[in-house]
Amino acid sequence: MPEQMRDIKRRIRSIKNTEQITKAMEMVAAARLRRAQSKVESARPYAEEIRKMAGRIAASLEDVSHPLLVEREVRNTGFVIFTSDRGLCGAFNARVIRFAQDVLRERDARSIVAVGRKGRDFFRRRGYDLLAEFIGIGDEPGVDVAREVVRHILKLYESGALDEINLVYTEFVSTSRQRPVVRRLLPIEIPTGDGNESRRADDYIYEPSPKRVLDIILPRFVEAQVYRAMLEAKVSEHAARMLAMGNATENAGEMINQLTLSFNKARQAAITKELTEIVTGAEALKG
């Protein structure tokens, strides 16, 4: 076999291996995407209920005051940024990081809580103030991970290290579309007046007191938001990875087709050359 043909054959084999890997990764990402989506779905009732409850409490109380609701003078704004731990997910991390950078520049802020290795590495390298980091949250994070993050965030907020905290994460729109968003987390803005429900100021009994109930519900409201951001980011990550790996598999397939074509051409050329040689040899003998 001529040198050229051997080379092509080797390349085909190598690309086939890559194709198998990307294909497998695509399928794994698809499975995780489905699971993560059902998690988002089943987490929705709690998030919605706690939001509505907080709204009804705010509507029923004449004077709602709580440290987590007070708007302080903002000297230091913090951003909790959700990225992935692993790569090979297309522009997923690049997009949310670039978006976060723009927001930070706009708001003149440098304080960051990083959730995910990619974001941590990036912002640490760039010399931002990394107040906390959460690495290795896994592919299907439970609410306990969100709780851990919230515990840290609340500490930063209550100690006065940060006067305002925002979440930056990737929101899942569809399998082929995810967009980075920024949402304020603290101080809490209680949603009032959405729909007729929270308008009705029922006379509630508070057990044991309005203050205690606020003490319980508000941190959980924060927790639900962080958990939601975490899940949205995960769903987006899996979708982005699935797409990236799907494209890689397709490209590998195309390359294999082209190389196979080249291989066949080379083989054909070799055969033709050999035939020509034989025929020429026979002609020469005849002559």
Binding site: S42, E49, Y204, E207
Partner: protein, 137 residues
């Protein structure tokens, strides 16, 4: 008997969504019984066992801290964790209880007393719920 809607939800999923006749739940300062047409109430939920009656049969749910609200004949309970009694892994709960007790006894230096005590309380609540016990049968 007249019924009302009971919803028990934790951050990850809906645990109970049923028409029930009565509920007894652990509020932060004592057990609270709720029947149809209870006045609107907001309250803090304690670690413990929620017991409810449905079609005359009694059911249990182990719950962690949270809030509850009764309004327009719907009782919503949002708990940090909630698990139906029949779904509880008794062996694991027993393990957790032993672990918490051991930690409390050892009085380790780095012991977070409050956390260990809460862990013990949770384990006991889960065992009770699994056994179908609880206040207000």
């Amino acid at each position: 008997m007249k019924s009302f809607k009971l919803e028990i939800v934790n951050p990850e999923r809906v645990v109970v969504s049923e028409e029930v006749e009565s509920v007894v739940l652990p509020a932060v300062d004592g057990f609270l019984g709720i029947l149809r047409n209870h006045v609107p109430i907001f309250g803090g939920l304690d670690i413990g066992v929620i017991r409810y009656r449905k079609e005359g049969k009694s059911h249990t749910v182990a719950c962690n801290l949270g809030v509850f609200e009764m309004r327009e004949n719907t009782l919503r309970v949002l708990a940090d964790t909630a698990e139906r009694g029949e779904d509880i892994d008794v062996l694991r709960a027993q393990e957790a209880k032993k672990r918490a007790e051991r930690r409390l006894q050892e009085k380790a230096q780095d012991l977070d007393y409050v956390r260990a005590e809460l862990a013990l309380k949770r384990a006991i609540a889960r065992l009770k719920a699994a056994a179908g016990e609880g206040k207000g049968r």
